[in-house]
């Protein structure tokens, strides 16, 4: 059989798929190799088929299967895919959990500050129970000392103020104010010293003055 260019084109796929009988294939090849146009055609179609078959399948969108199932058998209760792994995190989006988490954070911050843990430069020593105990002990003493100091200051202010504005129904010689107690931890329990009858004639103005004195003096006397 003598092949012409038209026949070469018509039987090209048969030739490439190996569907031609050997005898015909030999004749086909003889023509294809000898004709520049056909050589080019066979080469380009062979390259094309190879490229088509090497094409990677495209990944369908992840939502496709769930959507199809939803539209056919209806929405399913059982989670699948990434929802199965991360579905539980949905409960964390409730406001109460967010509020709870915030509270825990704040508590943690306050506690860590009280325990002397420096978060900016954390060290292993911070987690040492001895260190935590010391820091806590120190913190408690400091708070106690501040309270004691504040109370002591309060008394000093009382005394000064009562001397400056003595009660009208009292004799000046009857006033025997106790000396200002030395401030410091453990020295302020009980109303052992100081007059206990100074506040009989207090007016609202005095209360205001007193409060202002306390507020003004207290911050300046903080413990180091």
């Amino acid at each position: 059989m003598n092949w012409d260019c038209e026949q070469i084109e018509e039987r090209l796929s048969d030739y490439l798929d190996g569907a031609l009988p050997p005898k015909e294939a030999a004749g086909y090849k003889a023509h294809a190799d000898g004709c520049a146009r056909c050589t080019q055609l066979v080469a380009s179609v062979r390259g094309l088929v190879g490229a088509l078959r090497a094409m990677e399948p495209v990944a369908p969108p992840l939502r496709l299967v769930p959507t199809i199932l939803d539209k056919t058998i209806g929405p399913r209760t059982e989670p699948f895919g990434w929802r199965a792994w991360f579905g539980w995190t949905r409960i964390l989006w409730q406001p109460r959990f967010a509020f709870g988490a915030l509270t825990i954070l704040i508590t943690g911050a306050v506690l860590s500050q009280a325990l002397g843990i420096e978060w900016r430069t954390p060290t292993v020593a911070d987690l040492n129970p001895v260190h935590i105990y010391r820091a806590a002990d120190q913190g408690i003493h400091r708070i106690y000392a501040r309270g004691a100091k504040f109370f002591g200051d309060l008394r000093v202010v009382y005394e000064i103020e009562s001397r400056l504005n003595p009660a009208p129904d009292q004799e000046p010689d009857q006033q025997k104010p106790a000396p200002a107690p030395p401030s410091g931890p453990g020295r302020t329990e009980g109303p052992t010293s100081g007059p206990n009858n100074l506040n009989r004639a207090e007016t609202s103005t005095k209360y205001v003055t007193r409060f202002a004195c306390i507020v003004l003096t207290a911050p300046g006397r903080r413990m180091p």
Binding site: S13, P57, L64
Partner: protein, 203 residues
């Protein structure tokens, strides 16, 4: 495309278990249906994507295919052939309907550009070891496919991308074997010419 090529040859082996799944579906077994959907979604989506060159259209069409398959599952008989071939046939009919429906408002050029970008992006992200040239070739091939007439396009896709044999294609397209062969041959030659005009030479 090894998986697709293998799919054609293993059609006979798969016939039995898939026919059983269909039976279970018809008895109301949701898990069997889910299994069938998972088995065929990727292939059907690819078929739609290669034909339409458009991801969103391919997604919508894939959903439509499975909706129709679900509704007409009772009409499938294993004597017809593999379940996969039947689904392919449903897909092909929907693709042709879609093609006719959208023929007027199709803007081929803009569609191709979008598609080529998607194709390039996908190929390069999926196979980082693959050279950019291969990803580019994939984009060119898809562009060329979009320029092919739908008759030739579907024949080439079914043969060279889906790896179906002539018998299966004949069953899907419902045309004589001679027509199938002729369309595949013409489709390949036409595609090679389009690529040549684009200055692309796959070797």
């Amino acid at each position: 495309m090894e998986a697709n090529t293998a799919a054609g040859h293993e059609a006979d082996d798969q016939l039995e278990p898939e026919a059983q799944l269909v039976e279970q579906c018809l008895r109301g077994n949701g898990a069997a249906w889910e299994e069938l959907v998972r088995l065929h979604t990727r292939r059907i989506f690819n078929l739609c994507y290669r034909f339409t060159s458009h991801r969103q259209e391919a997604e919508d069409l894939s959903q439509e295919v499975f909706l129709r398959v679900y509704r007409t599952l009772g009409s499938y008989r294993s004597t017809y052939g593999a379940f996969g071939t039947w689904v392919t046939s449903v897909t092909r009919n929907l693709l042709i309907d879609h093609y006719r429906r959208t023929r007027r408002d199709r803007l081929t050029d803009s569609m191709e550009d979008v598609m080529a970008k998607v194709e390039d992006k996908e190929s390069s992200t999926r196979r980082p070891d693959h050279s950019a040239a291969v990803a580019e070739l994939g984009g060119h091939l898809q562009k060329a496919l979009a320029k092919l007439s739908p008759d030739l396009r579907e024949a080439v896709i079914l043969r060279d991308l889906e790896g179906l044999d002539y018998n299966e294609i004949q069953r899907v397209l419902e045309v004589p074997e001679g027509t199938v062969k002729s369309r595949i041959n013409r489709g390949r030659i036409e595609l090679a010419r389009i690529l040549d005009q684009m200055g692309v030479r796959p070797n």
